[in-house]
Amino acid sequence: MRYLPLTEADRRSMLEAIGVPSVDELFRDVPEAARLSGPIEGLSNHMGELEVDRALSAMAGKNLPAGSVPSFLGAGAYRHHIPATVDHLVQRGEFLTAYTPYQPEVSQGTLQVLFEFQTQVSLLTGMDVANASMYDGATACAEAVMMANRVTRRKKAVLSGGLHPHYRDTTTTDARFIGFETVVMPPAPTGGEDLLAAVDGDTSCVVVQNPDVFGHVRDYTELGKACQAKGALLIVVVTEAVSLGLLTPPGEMGADIVAAEGQSLGNALNFGGPYVGLFAVKEKLVRQMPGRLCGQTVDADGRRGFVLTLSTREQHIRREKATSNICTNSGLCALAFSIHLSLLGEEGFTRLAEINHAKAVQLADKLAAVTGVEIVNGSFFNEFTVKLPKPAAEVVEALAQRGILGGVPASRLFGGGLDDLLIVAATETNTESDMDAFATALAEVL
């Protein structure tokens, strides 16, 4: 077993140093009845590297990689080109195999990355400060609501019908167990919704998404002002971080908290995880934030350095009084995000956003030309919704048979209903011939 360095001779001499006859003796505190005498049945014995590679490659081979075919899936996870440099740097052992930076003197690499990441997220979202990342966008959204409840001392959240259903469900699961109320607006794929009508004196926050799950781009400036007047916080969710290269940032629209998914930068699709939740707030809310924060300070020689800070909010100090039970972040995914954004820079990030939008416009025009297809959106960034004359789930299955991943049926997200709606995304990875193939195949299956 190549991962275990002890030899039999080592083990014997170590047992001797300890003064016990066998390793079993070291397990003597385990109740006799629960001790297993040999390896657990039903599992294979150890395999060499080649065998494991073969077995897992065979499993991987049963999947259809999105990059191997024309693919137009989005709805909270987006396929973007990741420069080779990103994954190469992320795999440096000093980043990959480090732990939480509890000893700052030997963790300045991770800490400086987190400080830079926090700055990047603040800049993209137009907010004052960001934390060092969360599990994913959906959990960030749920934590944002819990934070709004703490800050306002009110316990009712109003969730837009344009919020990604997974974000909605994650938040309502927490609401059910943690004990707050949620008002969930019905999905409005074609029109607006009157969120303010649902806001009253008990409302802690209104949660909206931009672009929303159907792809509509919205301006929440007026809503932000109205929320403020009623003492509720505005939480803006962003599932496609690349949109922040082109759209008014949530901070400028009056968001108090931004909860976003950062997967689009530096992180592969990975069948849904691990991803990287972004969380940014107005300065006055910093001490109510969940998660980890990195701060700048000086060392004993007066040189600039970085540490984890404001940990008195956290569970390892505050225990049951902590702002959340979270004791980790998505460090490595945040690193990938940060490297990708550093490579892009101001010019690259803006242009990437512009390309994404232009690709989606091209795709929308091509799909609109297919008989029976109707584009639902008046506005969109790189994702939009089409109305089909047949159930979208059937259409998607038929497209898959033709080697095209043609979007996400709304029914997959909403669990039934909205059967004729298909959510379609385009990114810089889609070529014109991909789009033509999609339009042609769609015409065939309708």
Binding site: S13, E94, T173, R319
Partner: protein, 530 residues
């Protein structure tokens, strides 16, 4: 006092003090390979870009009425500069690839690169979570297979892979407990009849934080003199107001809870459920099945027991296993296999007792691949050996250090050994000082000041992937430091570390006046406008 020799922009004013490290000053502030690296924002040159992007296709904008954003403020760098920036930063990190990382209760073991290779196969890394099920049968099979391994190793009836980290798994387990009480009409949490969760005072901080987050009052159970749960105190607190017990086993003192079966019986007799924090499962994997101990629900940190890399703080992955008693309450999504052999994802909670979603999509797939690769590499026989070697290594350290340091409890220990600061009494040297001096010796320190049940704790976890030679080196260094401390060389310890990219950092200043992001010294637009 020497002149400021950093040679790099910084927002910290004041010159550099001459350190007592006897290392000569350099013009640049660099010391050989230890290079002063400015922030990425301080390397900005407008117009530079590290990627080649095509021209933007000419189309009519469909962005609607929102106003396009102005300048963001991101720095521009070319690819080689970015490569150098992150490479230099990486060199300021200690990592398991660099050396022994004996952080007790955190479990830093070898991260095999085969696992990385497997996780990057396009069939796993480049599949979208919402692709048609027919195109992701292998990914679903992998999830089912990982679930089977976890259920078999723990003897449990059901598993969810959804939770994104150990603490998230705790939340899932406590939610299942609440659901089960509610289903029985025995209402729980937030004003229900069962309002309390019992948590030993030695538990990870996440345990009480989780219980509180799920609407429970937290009641602490004291520890006995031999470092275990006080059974009598526990029994006295059990009653119709208790929803469950959260216990870590092996516990955070590195000890196996000898009375665990009795504890489980008492908890069940009171109508409560038994949650086990599985953070230390690596000590018993393949040797003990938690279900056989009477545990109802337990999370498993894949990075701790099954070697997925923790990347400077995450991502984690915290699957939860459920005994028959709680199996109906597994949240969505989960994988099922049809009679025909096809795998299917159940994504909606429906009308059953299963509760809803805890994160977007289906869990940390990238971590699942790595964990399964590790499990298959070791197999049932090897995982048993993993526990044996983890426990052997910890007991070896305990045996080799017990005459110079003070073990908190009698052995044997499990996969980690606990010392306290009695051996430092009267020396003026603290646990923190020992940790910082260890850094200069080339080791990452052990966990300090945790668990809270002993004073000045030093919790050492070597793991199974350390050789005897590396343990011996560590022992030699630690013995020498213990003796040096006892000899009264306080100044040496208080000045440590001396050989690191940064010396001791002022954490108080960081918290008092938080600087959480870079801001430009002068806004370029403002200059232009003036």
């Amino acid at each position: 006092m020497s002149m400021n020799n950093q040679g790099r922009p910084t927002h910290i004013s004041g010159g550099i003090q001459n350190s007592d490290s006897a290392v000569p000053q350099t013009v640049t502030g660099n010391r050989g390979l230890q290079i002063e690296e400015p922030l990425i924002f301080e390397q900005d040159s407008a117009g530079r870009c590290g990627v080649d992007l095509p021209e933007v296709p000419a189309v009519d904008s469909r962005l609607g009425a929102v106003k396009p954003r102005g300048r963001i403020g991101l720095p521009g760098l070319a690819e080689p500069q970015v490569v150098r920036h992150y490479t230099r930063l990486s060199q300021k990190n200690y990592a398991i690839d660099s050396g022994l990382y004996p952080l007790g209760s955190c479990t830093m073991k070898h991260n095999p690169r085969l696992n990385e290779k497997m996780a990057r196969l396009p069939g796993f890394a480049d599949v979208h979570p919402l692709q048609p099920e027919s195109t992701v049968q292998g990914a679903l099979e992998l999830m089912a297979e990982l679930g089977r391994w976890l259920a078999t190793l723990t003897g449990m009836a059901a598993v969810t892979l959804a939770p994104a980290a150990g603490a998230h798994g705790e939340m899932c387990g406590i939610m299942a407990i609440r659901s089960a009480h509610d289903a029985k009409g025995d209402h729980s949490g937030n004003g229900g009849g069962r309002t309390k969760i019992l948590v030993p005072e030695s538990a990870h901080g996440t345990n009480p934080a989780t219980a509180a987050a799920c609407g429970y009052a937290v009641e602490a159970i004291p520890a006995t003199e031999d470092g275990r749960v006080d059974l009598e105190a526990l029994k006295a607190k059990l009653g119709p107001d208790v929803a469950g017990l959260m216990l870590t086993n092996p516990n955070t003192c590195g000890l196996f809870e000898r009375d665990i079966i009795t504890i489980a019986e008492a908890v069940h007799a009171a109508g409560a459920y038994f949650y086990c924090d599985g953070a230390n499962f690596n000590a018993i994997v393949g040797r003990v099945r938690p279900a056989d101990l009477g545990i109802d629900v337990m999370h498993i940190n894949l990075h701790k027991t099954f070697s997925t890399p923790h990347g400077g703080g995450g991502p984690g992955s915290g699957p939860v296993v459920f005994a028959e008693s709680l199996a109906p309450y597994v949240p969505v999504p989960y994988v099922v296999q049809d009679k025909g052999g096809a795998f299917r994802l159940v994504e909606q909670a429906g009308d059953g007792p299963a509760f809803g979603r805890m994160k977007a999509f289906h869990g940390q797939m990238g971590m699942f691949v790595r964990a399964l690769a590790y499990m298959m590499s070791h197999g049932a026989d090897g995982l048993r050996q993993v526990a044996n070697d983890a426990v052997l290594n910890a007991n070896y350290l305990l045996a080799r250090l017990q005459d110079v340091m003070t073990p908190s409890f009698d052995g044997p220990c499990m996969h980690e050994c606990l010392f306290d600061d009695r051996f430092l009494k009267g020396t003026g040297v603290t646990t923190l000082d020992i940790a910082k001096a260890l850094i200069d010796e080339g080791f990452h320190p052990m966990t300090m000041y945790f668990p809270l049940v002993v004073h000045g704790a030093l919790l050492i976890e070597p793991t199974e992937t350390e050789s005897k030679a590396s343990l011996d080196q560590f022992v030699t260094a630690l013995r020498a430091l213990a003796e040096r401390a006892k000899s009264g060389d306080v100044a040496y310890f208080q000045g440590a570390p001396r050989l690191t990219p940064r010396r001791r950092l002022d954490e108080t200043a960081a918290a008092r006046k938080p600087v959480l992001r870079w801001t430009p010294a002068v806004e370029p637009e403002k200059v232009a406008a003036e």
